[in-house]
Amino acid sequence: MNDIEGLLRRLAPQVLGAIVRRYGHFDTAEDAVQEALLAAATQWPADGVPENPRGWLITVAGRRLTDLLRSEQARQRREDTVARWALTSPAPPAADTDDTLVLLFMCAHPALAPAAQIALTLRAVGGLSTAEIARAFLVPEPTMTRRISRAKQRIRSSGIPFGLPPPAERASRLASVLHVLYLIFNEGYASTSGPRLARTELSAEAIRLTRMVHRLLPADGEVAGLLALMLLTDARRPARVGPDGGLIPMAEQDRSRWDADRIAEGVALISGALPRGPAGPYQLQAAIAAVHDEAPTAEDTDWPQILALYELLLRISDNPVVALNHAVAVAMVHGPNAGLELLGQLESDDRIAADHRLHSVRAHLLEMSGNKSEARESYEMAAARTSSLPQQRYLHAKARGCQ
């Protein structure tokens, strides 16, 4: 990312926030800001960055908004349906909070589907173009354009005022903001499909946006926890993919390739957040990631500590993947049979029963317990249930090893 691009991405939410706060019209303002960003991206490299880049963008976006509104209003008048909206309760005073936070709350509004929340957040807060978002999500640009404009219409018709949600709703709304950021990160990290570059950028973008939220809400433990979780997970990226593009399990990764700076930053964040109060799910997941990242070798992993953290996590989250990881931790502490017993309970959970990860974990635990023939069977079942070629290759190789 060059300097101008970085500057524009940083300014994008501030400019949109200023325009929407001043003039309203979130949907049209968002288009106007995109056009101003585009104008800057083409003019600044040639003409130089103006003395007050934020002011420049606000002026240009404001002018563009006036134009867009006029043609909209003229069209509406022709159709004889002037835009009217019923007056709702006034937006709460936003005092000295950054408009960026208000935008994040708007984009993660529960009226929107997750896919729409993600796309809108990347565009309105991240300052990414529709084409960039479409490329990262591997959908055609017109599809993404429609998704974004539908999301904006939705926000307009719901009459959401420009302001922070009322205090009573703030915690649950912040949880949806964090969930959107988490999904963006995972889209970039967990997926094995697509051009790697674009996907990696999504993770980087999620980290950048979460950093921003952490700067705005430094006392919030879950925000710090999510940022720590992302950093501690992303730290393993360099060791995570083998030369064939296949995923390397954590136990087999070359830990010298883990990013020590990211680990140090993530550990510091989570160590600072945990003592501050009841730990939420992101903090617990970050704490687990920190225990893994701090072990010099896989054998040195502090499994009893990880097991204790998964037990806390299970109490506050009903997620079958958490339950699956918990079973692994149980097996590492109390032996493979204890883990296999827990897997038996998961088989009746429709959300994960058909998932290759369940079969893959069972295969590993069976192999640990010395039951090679059943392990081989489970590896093959897992291979049949994943669509990823590198994963299939890995699982078939494991199955062969159990002959």
Binding site: Y23, G24, H25, R63, T66, L69, R70, E72, Q73, A74, Q76, R77, V82, A83, R84, W85, A86, L87
Partner: protein
């Protein structure tokens, strides 16, 4: 005594000043600068004489909102003005000795420079109105 001097403009007048292509040719930068300089001097003279109270300009009419009652419910309309409608574009509040003095101040604006070959879509005017000093003034 305080007086409000009110200036009017339509969306079309805003366009002419902002250099947007329309039926009238847009003002050049020099023409624009001449007008700005005139307005600034007009304002500065009021500051110097101690008669200046406040002055504000309003953004383009496209940004206006109108609130009306509809079946007893307040309803907001965005952009309520047609493009050619004259609306308040800005005002000056002066504090001076008399209505005549305020009128004289406002009348200086007839000399506002504008390009010879451009014309407003309507007759040019400014309004001057005395500001009410107390509730009693409003009964008069």
């Amino acid at each position: 005594m305080k007086y409000m001097i009110m200036l009017y403009g339509s969306q079309q007048d805003y366009d002419m000043l902002s250099g947007k292509p329309s039926e009238q040719r847009p003002w050049t930068a020099e023409e624009q600068a001449a007008m700005n300089e005139f307005m600034m001097k007009w304002n500065q003279d009021l500051v110097d004489s101690g008669e200046f109270v406040d002055a504000q300009g309003l953004t383009a009419p496209a940004h206006a909102r109108r609130i009306q009652l509809q079946n007893g419910v307040p309803v907001v309309t965005d952009g309520p003005y047609p493009e050619t409608q004259e609306v308040l574009a800005g005002y000056n509040i002066v504090e001076c000795a008399s209505f005549d003095r305020a009128t004289e101040i406002a009348a200086r604006l007839v000399k506002t420079p504008h390009p010879a070959d451009t014309e407003l879509a309507r007759e040019w005017f400014v309004d001057v109105r005395p500001v009410a000093e107390s509730g009693a003034d409003l009964d008069a």
